[in-house]
């Protein structure tokens, strides 16, 4: 991956990072079932990334494929008071948007790109489905709730990905173990 001499800042599991730096790349390495969520403001040329690990904290009502709703104690990890908000799909998007607003972005201008949500271990599944699929649903719902348009996505499948946000350019690149690199531009 070409970094053009720019500073590369990793966004680890459950982290949220924002930047308005002209020389920074935010990167979520080796996304499997996790989702990398990038938000970007085309006026400020600032953006951020969340590395979502799980769909939601424990004690949430989950609607199973059968249509039955149930609370699943112990299935999801409990959300600790000081837990990173980037950990869950249900909390990451609003926190990322809020962090961007704090550095001068406007919520209504934000656009999104997402990557990940794969199942790289075929046959590995929870009683409620694949974690990658659940993560993806949670993130998409959170983006819809925030009325943020998704302009680029590379999700699902059974292979790993790394996601790079070139902050000043508003460009997202996704590399994977299969096929060529993909590129999304927030504005043409």
């Amino acid at each position: 991956m070409e970094t053009d001499g720019l500073r590369v800042t990793p966004v680890k599991i459950a982290e949220i990072k924002v930047s308005n730096s002209q020389d920074e790349i935010l990167v979520a390495y080796s996304l499997g079932s996790c989702i990398g969520v990038c938000l970007w403001d085309p006026v400020c040329c600032a953006g951020g990334m969340a590395h979502v690990f799980l769909p939601r904290p424990r004690q949430c009502t989950y609607v199973a494929a059968s249509g039955n709703s149930e609370v699943i104690p112990g299935f999801f990890h409990p959300q600790e008071p000081n837990e990173q908000p980037g950990k869950y799909g249900t909390t990451a998007v609003s926190n990322l948007a809020h962090s961007l607003v704090r550095i001068g972005c406007k919520r209504e201008r934000l656009m999104a790109a997402i990557a990940g949500g794969a199942n790289v271990i075929p046959g590995l599944s929870s009683p409620f489905g694949e974690v990658g699929v659940m993560n993806l649903k949670a993130v998409e719902q959170a983006l819809a709730d925030e009325r943020i348009e998704v302009v680029g996505r590379d999700t699902g499948g059974n292979y790993g990905r790394s996601m790079y946000l070139y902050v000043s350019k508003g460009v997202v690149r996704v590399t994977s173990t299969t096929g060529p690199e993909k590129e999304f531009r927030f504005k043409e």
């Binding site: 680890k12 599991i13 459950a14 390495y29 080796s30 996304l31 499997g32 079932s33 996790c34 690990f53 799980l54 112990g74 299935f75 999801f76 990890h77 794969a118 199942n119 790289v120 271990i121 075929p122 046959g123 590995l124 599944s125 929870s126 009683p127 974690v131 990658g132 993560n135 292979y159 790993g160 990905r161 790394s162 173990t177």
Partner: protein, 186 residues
């Protein structure tokens, strides 16, 4: 389960796998242990040190009185080096596609030996009944494998144990990590 228990079971398991490998190949084989640890969830994808690199790994899950997953990650080039030592002539004479198949087959066998021996050691030591799934060989980004396994293991307790192991076989070294994601005992 604690780190000491994991260390003992890993040693027993790897030693059993080592003796089986010696018996099967007739080649000298030594196993050295590095860092045995119980690690934080956030550090797991970086355990291998090859976050973004594609590694060959073996994955097996188990159920019973305890649930969990065992993942064995061979560092890049380790698998190839070991296979070259074991069957040098075959490697020299075979095209790259068949080499990869052979590499995967041999690594899969070695990893299965280690995984099954480790699981037996845990079951014997803790006097538990554990039932393994069929093992699976995966060629993927190390971090993506670990991250996916870890996310699913959150339905368990979130305990993660890891150990670096170095297998020296006939002059070649295969460095790999054994990662155990386990539940609390039921």
């Amino acid at each position: 389960m604690d780190t000491l228990f994991f260390r003992e079971c890993t040693k027993l398991g790897v030693e059993k796998a080592r003796s089986t490998l010696v018996a099967l190949t007739g080649m000298p084989c030594r196993a050295d242990f590095g860092n045995v640890k119980c690690t934080e969830v956030d550090h797991v994808p970086m355990l291998s040190g090859y976050l973004d690199d594609i590694v060959l790994s073996s994955w097996v899950s188990f159920t019973g009185e305890m649930d969990g997953q065992i993942i064995i990650l061979f560092r890049p080039d380790s698998a190839h080096d070991v296979v070259s030592s074991m069957v040098p002539h075959f490697i020299e004479e075979t095209d790259s596609e068949n080499q990869q198949e052979l590499e995967e087959s041999i690594v899969s066998e070695i990893a299965n030996m280690i995984g099954c021996s480790l699981l037996s050691a845990i079951a014997d030591t803790a006097q538990m009944t554990l039932k393994p799934s069929p093992p699976m060989l995966i060629r993927e980004m190390a971090g993506a494998i670990l991250e996916t396994a870890l996310a699913t293991s959150y339905l368990y307790s979130g305990e993660v144990f890891a150990s670096d192991v170095k297998f020296s076989l006939a002059g070649s070294e295969a460095v790999f990590e054994i990662v155990l994601l386990s539940s609390r005992e039921k």
